[in-house]
Amino acid sequence: MRYAMPIFRLRYSSIWLGAAMLVGTNIATTAQFVVQPPTDPNQRQVVVVRQDTSDCSGRDVANTDSPLVSGTIWATRLFDGNTGVKVAMTAKPNTTYRLSLKCVRPIGDVKTDDEGIANLSLVFPSNLAGAEYSFELAPEGSPAGSRYQSAQISFK
């Protein structure tokens, strides 16, 4: 019994610690009015930022809004074994950007119009990428300062 008590104390401590962390988390996350819009569980939405390099999975690209954000990518896992990708970006006018699955292969081209706007939808086989991946958009020749990286898309 003398040895059992500390174990019980430890368990109660853990429960209180967990409860405190939960309350803390709730306070932190409710400091701003946040809306959770209905989301498709098979869809992920990430930002595309003007940045020349990133790691293959896009882990080092923050999926947050900032003046560096130049586009948005939606990836949707389809039931036929493909993944649908929708790209919307605002960049240099009249420029063709090669869209690549980062560190895998190019999957299409997206061309901006006279005002720098581009929209593209395409599909690729889901088994081309793992559960975590990212995209890169680079123009012909890829001069420094002209590439774009997406944040990580994770279906884990």
Partner: protein, 324 residues
């Protein structure tokens, strides 16, 4: 004589070398953009720029960018006191997958004492994939700041934050919106929603139309104090107008306006909130009210699916205008 000639030659050569360099870096008080301009130009009337982003670096603090002819002039990040005004010409910004206008006050120079941004006569279209039409941030470095938005249309922001106008400043400031429409957005139409407690953020909206937000038409959050007059808040799926004072108090005075055809008309959402209503039509909402609100004796609250908690009467019954 020879010495004088030599001095004049040296001085002349010096002027020739220095003058072009000086003029290349000079910023004009007024610059121009044109649909057929080019950003390598000086943005003068005879050699206009192509985009607002190209023109802003050639425009002096407190200067003005105008539109020479109709066109789309691209998304822009504003980091100094400036006016962008396309009066008499269509001045459009398409913002696909990104924000239309960023105003990060933390990037303003300390020498920029006015810290005032004026956006007039613009048409911002997110082409269904826009993130935020006008995003105002800052506070940790530069306090205060004034943003004035007049005669502007914002439409089609359904990606990311999916908001027409979002003010997230934590160190206070002023936001004035008049004669402006914000419609078809995925989250908020207009939101004052700083992430934490800070200083008072004062907003005045006059003749503003906020329609078809998928969540809340107008949200006033932490530190926000909004005076809203002569406005129409309609067709917003979840809530027409609401206040949330979780980290700091939020306050709304709504007068002479229409709140109709929303899921919930007027919402005291949570936290420390005061909502005062005077001379409004609040009708045809699924539910009229949630939480505590205050009403002068001259609001018309008919035709809602259900009223919800009735507003508390304030003012005098003998004075139907609600004047004290």
């Amino acid at each position: 004589m020879n010495r004088i000639a030599l001095s004049l030659t040296i001085a002349g050569t010096f002027m020739l070398l220095v003058l072009p360099t000086t003029s290349a870096h000079a910023q004009a008080s007024r610059t121009w953009v044109s649909g057929v301009g080019d950003d390598v130009n000086p943005c003068s009337r005879t050699a206009p720029c192509k985009t607002f982003a190209g023109a802003i670096s050639k425009t002096a603090i407190n200067g003005e960018i105008n539109c020479l002819d109709p066109g789309g002039f691209g998304a822009v990040t504003i980091t100094k006191s400036i006016s962008i005004d396309c009066h008499e010409e269509l001045g459009s910004i398409l913002f696909s997958g990104t924000n239309g206008i960023n105003v990060p006050f933390n990037s303003f120079s300390a020498a920029d004492t006015r810290k005032t941004v004026r956006i007039r006569n613009l048409n911002l279209n997110g082409v269904d994939t826009g993130v935020i039409g006008v995003r105002i941030t800052g506070g940790s470095v530069i306090t205060g700041g004034v943003v004035i938005i007049e005669d502007t249309l914002i439409d089609g922001a359904f990606a990311g934050g999916a908001t027409g106008i979002l003010d997230e400043r934590t160190a206070g400031g002023e936001l004035y919106i008049s004669n402006t429409s914000v419609r078809n957005t995925g989250t908020f139409g207009i939101a004052i929603n700083p992430p934490a407690a800070g200083q008072r953020l004062d907003a005045t909206f006059d003749n503003v139309r906020v329609q078809n937000a998928a969540n809340i038409g107008i949200l006033i959050g932490n530190n926000g104090r909004a005076m809203i007059n002569r406005s129409v808040i309609s067709g917003n799926a979840q809530i027409g107008i609401g206040a949330s004072g979780i980290a700091a108090s939020a306050e709304i005075n709504l007068s002479n306006s229409v709140v109709s055809n929303n899921g919930l008309g007027v919402g005291n959402l949570n936290g420390t909130v005061t909502i005062r209503l005077a001379n409004n039509d609040i009708s045809f909402n699924t539910t009229g009210f949630s939480g505590a609100t205050q009403s002068y004796f001259n609001n018309r609250l008919q035709g809602n699916g259900s009223l919800g908690p009735a507003p508390t009467a304030i003012g005098s019954t003998s004075n139907p205008t609600g004047l004290q």
